[in-house]
Symmetry: C2
Subunit: 445 residues, 2 copies
């Protein structure tokens, strides 16, 4: 029998940050993190194992971060949560807690397609051995088909396409790739870009069957097209991993995650949940949010970790900020796209500008950067923004995220005080964030 003041279940992005945050806020408590993996892959880095890093061991979250923060580690699979006894069971082993933080993540969705369980069909498991096995199998595959054009799908497609001698095809049931993440005009740019890199992209296409004898040989589409396939990867999405929570009769939410309030407390006051396993509400309106991102997990883990022995932090709801990179094309979204905002029921006005990301535009490294901002018409509040450009897009979208989080208006952004530099940013006159707001203001009159 072991005992710890704080037990964290799950060792990926949410679990680690929850443990570190608990340590920061509770320097005298004992903290134990339980995870089933010997090694933990960096979740967002998984696609990059295949073309860029070439070794799964280069994509690990180092355990040193636990040691530095005096978080004990136990590798093993939790089999049960005994709420009445305040204990987590690992088979016959029993670990007692004062407070438990669930960070059990998500499991990939397996679509109801005939043939998905055939040999040669892979889902994306956050498991180093499995990922390494996929890498070995890729060596012998010429024709690789990826089902699902979300982040994971296109990043896998592009990485595998970097390996010599692979024909890569991606399939998307929606009219555009990344449809759930960007407005159409951004999606279309990414599609053109992917095609330009030699990847075959099918959109508005449903998979009828994954076929073969014993192992996959082809993918059959609903329009009769047959695509030869030695290996198929499913990048469809993921659902909250709530098996233990459900068995322990913790309340679940509408999207299937462990129900939590704004303090990340579950229906059991001694148990908190964060990350992909936790139910989320949207920053916009407070309804359920289906988003699952490592960055969202961070926010929730920082809240859960701080709150375990007395409430200190509350979530404003899930904003949703992400970026995507394929080669030198990077895109990002913070908050709502125009199409999402309309689906939510907002009356919106947008402003879009494009300008070189250096000044003058002939400075080395210059590339066009496009910014689209979406405002609610009546209050003029920023609901979201999208950016397309090169590497700095990763931080520019975070500037927009800050503006959304503080509910800045178009006027606030028109008067945004930014810094600019010839070698680093667009010119002050053309700075795209500010100018997109000015364009929207013109349309708001």
């Amino acid at each position: 029998m072991t005992k710890a003041d704080i037990v964290v279940l799950g060792g990926s992005a949410a679990g680690i940050t929850a443990a570190i945050t608990a340590r920061r806020h509770h320097p005298d408590k004992s903290i134990l993190l339980i995870r089933k993996e010997t090694k933990v892959p960096i979740p967002c880095g998984i696609p990059y194992i295949y073309g860029t890093l070439t070794d799964a061991d280069k994509n690990l979250i180092p355990d040193a971060i636990l040691e530095t923060n005096k978080v004990d580690l136990r590798v093993g699979e939790a089999t049960k949560i005994d709420r009445a006894g305040r204990a987590v069971l690992l088979g016959d082993d029993r670990i007692e807690y004062e407070r438990l933080i669930l960070a059990t993540g998500s499991v990939p969705t397996q679509p109801p397609i005939p043939g998905v369980d055939m040999e040669g069909v892979y889902i994306i498991l956050k498991d180093v051995d499995y990922l390494r096995q996929l890498q070995r199998k890729l060596q012998d595959a010429s024709n690789v088909v990826i089902i699902g054009c979300g982040f994971i799908g296109i990043e896998f497609a592009d990485e595998i396409n970097k390996i010599k001698g692979k024909n890569v095809t991606i399939l998307e049931v929606a009219p555009n790739c990344l449809k759930l993440s960007y407005d159409d005009e951004f999606c279309e740019e990414m599609e053109t870009h992917l095609r330009g890199r030699g990847i075959t992209v099918y959109t508005s296409t449903a998979v009828e069957q994954i076929a073969g004898e014993g192992r996959v040989r082809e993918v059959r589409l609903n329009d009769g097209t047959v695509i030869p396939a030695d290996l198929v990867i499913l990048g469809i999405g993921a659902k909250a991993n709530v098996a233990l929570a459900k068995e322990a009769e913790l309340r679940l939410g509408l999207t299937g995650g462990v129900a939590v309030d704004r303090t990340m407390q579950t229906s059991d006051p001694n148990i908190f949940a964060c990350g992909d396993c936790a139910e989320k509400i949207s920053f916009f309106g407070g309804g359920p949010s289906p988003l699952k991102l490592a960055s969202i997990a961070q926010l929730e883990a920082r809240i859960a970790g701080a709150n375990v022995f007395g409430l200190r932090r509350e979530s404003d709801g899930t904003l949703g900020v992400w970026s995507t990179a394929v080669g030198d094309l990077a895109m990002g979204t913070a908050g709502l796209t125009e199409s999402m905002a309309k689906d939510f029921g907002y009356d919106v006005v947008s402003g879009t500008v494009e300008t070189p990301n250096r000044h003058p535009g002939c400075m080395p490294g210059a590339a066009p950067v496009k910014v689209k901002l979406v405002f609610e018409r009546h209050s003029r509040t920023l609901l979201g923004g999208q950016v397309r450009g090169s590497v700095s897009v990763g931080e520019l979208i975070n500037t927009i995220a800050a503006c959304v989080q503080k509910r800045m208006t178009a006027e606030d952004i028109a008067m945004f005080q930014m810094g600019t530099h010839p070698a680093l940013t667009a010119s002050p006159i053309a700075y795209p964030l500010v100018n997109a707001a000015e364009v929207a203001i013109t349309r708001l009159r």
Copy 2:
């Protein structure tokens, strides 16, 4: 005699943006921009003419931006403002206005050093012919000495150092280069970096004399050191260009700029001022601010341009956001450095973290990024931040700028919802903005 509803005096960053903003807000008004330069250099791009762009004509603000916005252009030197008659005089020519926007910029400070008016000593004038002449003279110079280690000084030093066969020395009276822009630890990194690139850096050094016969031959320091010099560049700073405003008896401010209120209105309600020529108040406390930056000029120009026929916008005061790049080392500041904050009288707590700017840290392009945040102890409000890293620093500092502008607290930033991506940013677990706030929070207890 000409007449325009809105006359803008000055054609650099402030004047152009004031004119464009006036056009956006007043589609039916006639707008005339008067400037003395045939061609307008991009102010922040001037150093880059010498090593990177190699041609002053590559560093111009295109006039197309005026045409697109239906702003008429008159090239000529204004000689007088006739406030009673609401007219600007260009010698015998008279241009009447309904509203006048002054955007006359600044002139370089000439320090009281013996020999500054000698041949071979240059100031940084925003004048293409002068800048081109400097370029020609540089061809014959082996030993180049730059006096003043502010942005302009170090950027000139590094650019000239890129030209084959130049010995470049920079001199700074303060104990560190960039002392007015960054805390010491950042300044020291830049100094080491400059030295590593072959530039000789003297700090805590006053120039006693610029010496030579007719043209410069050497620079003599107060400690007796003599530095051979074929060419000297003064990068000491700039003062508001208020000659016409002063003659027209507009009220001036404490730092010597044209006095304006928060709407950028001068003491004459028909005259607005913006940019380097306008007096500034600080975002912090509201006292006079000596800062002069193209990005500040933008804010003021967007206010002045919107307000000419009825007040629509007000400034919260000058925040001060800038970035600097020398080779692949970039640094940025938003708001107050720790040292500035202490000078202002704030009781501060800071948090600093350093992490790779990609995840995993072996992703291509990975480099360390350092973030320092400075909070006011009692209110826990963010007063400012500094960043050191590579190109994305230019936008990361703007994320911090947004946090300062909305007076976010350490807790707000600990719960910041950012996006992350392996190829674009630090890992979600280590995201430096959030972690610097967490470090500061630990110290705030």
